[in-house]
Symmetry: C2
């Protein structure tokens, strides 16, 4: 199979798009349980698949439907064209055997192409994922919620903790399959990490969380097709027209990048 | 319903036991897929239920079986006596709406009594769990793997990061339903955190991970029935006699506590 980042770069290029759409079904908004969630998300995919470079389902929103939700998530992967990779936003990270079981669940059972990882347990908790070289691994670095300040911004030996996490991801990037998650609410921090890292960035927080799209794109972009992945969820999947919402975001990003 | 910590203290007292058994099925060891995993774990429960104060299934080991594994985990809860609480070792923690969905999945769909949480995203990522006052929340503080040193031991404004996490959990403990996870490989750090915190401690890492049982119990115990919960998994559930293995651990802990 092609590696996640190979697929991602090819889709970004083919669709002239740095946009990732989060597929996070909400039972308060979408009727019909897990089947309704799958149907809604597949409709969004049908409307947006030529406008994005990947999709990002967050595990929590599927887990809340119980076993049927997990079956729907696995089916979602099989029903989206294989040229469009899926990033499993699961923020996993545990002891070695346990992380290996999570990697099997994400990559082999659910068929996901990439995963987001929580670094708090350290390098050995990430390795069972990163060793799967054909899969992508995005390490949570600096998140877009207010609570990010509680630990991530703490000064660790002269620099904020999230900088140490960026260094840890760089050190683990033996197979060239690592990236970082940095929220769009922190463009100055995106620039700060970009100054010392060429890892691909996944940037959520545009839209509902009030992140600054233009500044985030300028801060993250380094000329590589995978350097800046902008993720939006509710603003697209619950829009009156998901297609129009996705197109506006894609075009806005391209405008900032000087692509006409 | 009774709160998690009420159930835990009652079971600890009734069974004279500080032992938690991890229910982490391994498909390489147990035949028969998810049904085999459920059957094996229920057999372990039948042999050990009068010797423990709770059980701790780790989500990864059930997720690796796919949707059937999650259905088996939900069934596990319904088939264990309600007086014995289950701690869902899932190490979750995400943005507000996402954490709320994880809380629904853990507490409402799977019926778990408590959960382990990863603090890296900060206080607002933990609140959707801690607000469910009748459920227990164990925040990962200092883990028992070698990688713990990568971030958790970093000096943050004069103290290691895990001390800051312990303070964060203390601040969030409005409803009296928080605890900390501290590995048995670090008895001196257990003592250090205990010196400034009366939160309940959940201590994994005894057995396969080489933690020091006696020193960990002495360091954690403060006289409260929930102050020191010792968790063992593989050493019990794959023992020739899970009952004998659980009894030996329970009795060893009681010996350290001076209980005859």
């Amino acid at each position: 199979m092609s590696s996640f980042f190979t697929l991602l770069r090819a889709a970004a290029s083919a669709h002239r798009s740095q946009l990732c759409v989060g597929l996070d079904p909400d039972p308060e908004v979408i009727p019909g349980g897990a089947a309704g969630a799958l149907k809604h998300c597949l409709q969004v995919v049908q409307e947006t698949q030529d406008l994005v470079c990947c999709y990002k389902p967050n595990s929590a929103f599927w887990e809340q439907y119980g076993p049927e939700g997990m079956a729907a998530l696995a089916e979602l992967r099989t029903r989206i064209d294989g040229s469009l990779p899926l990033v499993y936003d699961a923020k996993r990270g545990d002891f070695d055997h346990t992380s290996a079981a999570y990697a099997r669940a994400a990559f082999d059972v659910l068929g996901m192409d990439a995963i987001t990882l929580n670094p708090y347990l350290g390098a050995d908790s990430l390795k069972p994922f990163t060793e799967r070289g054909e899969r992508g691994c995005y390490v949570i670095c600096r998140t877009s919620n207010p609570g990010a300040a509680d630990l991530q911004h703490r000064d660790v030996e002269g620099q904020p903790l999230y900088r140490r996490v960026a260094d840890l991801a760089q050190e683990l990037n033996q197979a060239g399959n690592l990236g970082l998650v940095i929220g769009a609410t922190a463009p100055s921090q995106i620039a700060e990490v970009r100054a010392s890292s060429d890892l691909p960035f996944l940037i959520p927080g545009v839209g509902a969380q009030g992140g600054d799209l233009d500044a985030s794109v300028r801060a993250a972009w380094n000329g590589e097709a995978d350097s800046c992945l902008i993720s939006a969820s509710r603003g697209v999947i619950y829009a009156d027209s998901p297609r129009r919402a996705a197109r506006e975001l894609r075009d806005r990003i391209n405008h900032v990048l000087g692509r006409q």
